[in-house]
Symmetry: C2
Subunit: 345 residues, 2 copies
């Protein structure tokens, strides 16, 4: 095993012995317990410092059965949005004395299940989850419910009596965006969605469809494309559109990655945006301002979502907010209009 030239670890017993007091006093002193005289505390801290003491989290966890740790499971870390979300969570958590354990499901239910087990074994006090693409149910979180470990979904959520949800109003955002496209003169509007089992995509689809409906446009089956919203899917979508005899005059894609890829492939095939077709995305990724023309999209602030999720969880953990734990918290979004949907007159 490991090179074991580490010297013996210093414990509160060592400090107690050196100071001729009891370990109990040291334990209390170190955590600033009011029953300990200031003078004693000072001596304890000084001695701890002098001996190079480090607190043993495990001994405490073993005893208290709490870890002051929050588990986070997200599909992927590599988006500005997720990074922002996590930064927000970290801020709130650290201020409240909690640590974060982060893991990514890489969009598969299988990995998500493994992550859940790991989190469970690491005895996180609570869990913040945004569901993977392929997740079909949430039985893998049952153990958390059984043990009364609070679980909060954010962004990609699941309706469950035990779980508050933190989301944006995907329905409304899609409705607004679609209405805007109609207002720009579009009549044949396609929608590229992700897995409709995920709330974010089903809600966006519904918002889109209802906007059509409310504007007297009959939704046609062929206008809906469901795929994984990857860049490759964007290219496929463009090819599909290109091959249509009756082409759409606008496409609303449920994320920016796919929208951008689609737009570029359309352009390569001589279909220009926004001249020939309007394109809009969702998320406001950095690429949206790089692609030409710049992409119209929906922005929602990640830090806010992360903060809200962490705050809600910590309130639950501290026993506050039991009286009024909201089932769903909706954060605000904003439509960002750029050149990709500005029909030239």
């Amino acid at each position: 095993m490991s090179t074991s030239n580490e010297k013996k670890e210093v414990t509160i017993y060592d400090i107690a012995a050196a100071l001729q007091i009891s370990a109990a006093t040291v334990s209390r002193g170190l955590k600033n317990h009011p029953a300990i005289k200031q003078a004693t505390k000072d001596r304890i801290f000084a001695q701890a410092e002098r001996m190079g003491y480090r607190f043993n989290t495990f001994a405490r966890n073993l005893r208290t059965k709490r870890t002051y740790t929050i588990g986070v499971i997200v599909p992927r870390l590599n988006s500005m949005f997720m990074s922002d979300v996590i930064a927000g969570m970290e801020k709130v958590s650290n201020e409240a004395g909690y640590e974060l354990i982060i893991s990514q499901s890489l969009e598969t239910m299988e990995k998500e299940m493994k992550n859940a087990v790991t989190m469970f074994n690491n005895r996180v006090d609570g869990l913040l989850v945004s569901l993977a693409y392929t997740t079909t149910g949430i039985d893998h979180f049952k153990r958390f419910f059984d043990k009364n470990i609070p679980l909060i979904f954010f962004d990609r959520v699941f309706e469950h009596p035990n779980c508050p949800n933190i989301v944006i109003n995907n329905y409304k955002a899609a409705y607004e965006l679609t209405s805007y496209l109609i207002q720009q003169g579009a009549r044949r509007i396609m929608h590229v969605a992700g897995n409709l089992n995920r709330n974010v995509y089903s809600q966006r689809f519904k918002g889109y469809r209802d906007a059509l409906l409310d504007n007297g446009i009959q939704f046609q089956e062929g206008w809906l494309i469901v795929n994984n919203l990857s860049a490759e899917d964007g290219i496929h979508t463009a090819k599909h559109i290109y091959a249509l005899t009756e082409r759409p005059d606008a496409v609303f894609v449920a994320n920016d990655t796919c929208a951008v890829a689609c737009m570029q492939e359309l352009k390569r095939n001589g279909i220009y945006v926004p001249k020939d077709i309007l394109v809009a995305g969702f998320n406001n990724d950095p690429i949206a301002t790089v692609v030409e023309p710049n992409l119209t999209t929906v922005n929602y602030r990640g830090p806010e979502m992360g903060e809200m999720a962490a705050k809600t969880l910590i309130n639950l953990l501290n026993g506050n907010g039991e009286q009024h734990t909201a089932a769903t918290i909706m954060l605000r979004h904003e439509l960002i209009i750029r050149d990709s949907t500005q029909r030239p007159q």
Copy 2:
């Protein structure tokens, strides 16, 4: 405190009692110890399942003084590169029975120091670090050296006798890229670098400078711009270039974000890439293939770097590789030539 309607936790003692055997046997059985008869193991596992037993990590950690946890500190999570790195680390770690604790320094030394303390208190068995932008020294890792906790730097590294480094050959990559620009006919080549205290930027600068030198081009002080390589810095850089009386005919920027922003701002000011000026970046971010023209850059595979870093660390932890722990491991990179540097004839 928390709603405490959780039932009593099941322990190996409960399993032992139910099966009329000793806790020691249960403990060994659960971890598949060869000294336990298969039949006994089967009974143990079945009983554990039946009683809803969950392993207590803390009791083990307390006893073994190992956590099977690896700490990871990175500047930011929100890049494809970092996400890839972490995916690679996770793969190798999980296969070897280790968990990852990930935190981001958000490019500041202050946060990095805090993260280091957290990791230390969480008793990670080892640490994988890529340094923040503003980090000026590594005293905050001294406690790890003192306790003989292995620390490996990757990408943004620091030379230290105790720490293996996992990097790419930034010098060579920059040298090759610059040579290529010269070959394309460029003679007045600017370089936009990040903080020169970070190896990645100083090495890229040196590679650039030596390539000039070796091609008989005299490096001029004004050709070097040092900034934070953000998008805003890219715009500033473009404005700076625009204002020059004697403009460069090529710019080599040390990352893609900044390169792209710079390119776009140049374009807005009527300076066209690659007609008027060649632009190259570094990293091969997704935006490099979205911007027009597509950006020439240097690719290096994150997963490989993550895997290598984790492997090296785990070898150290397991006591292998002590005889030949390399001080520096260099991974391969590749020059990716795209339109932004193709001078039209």
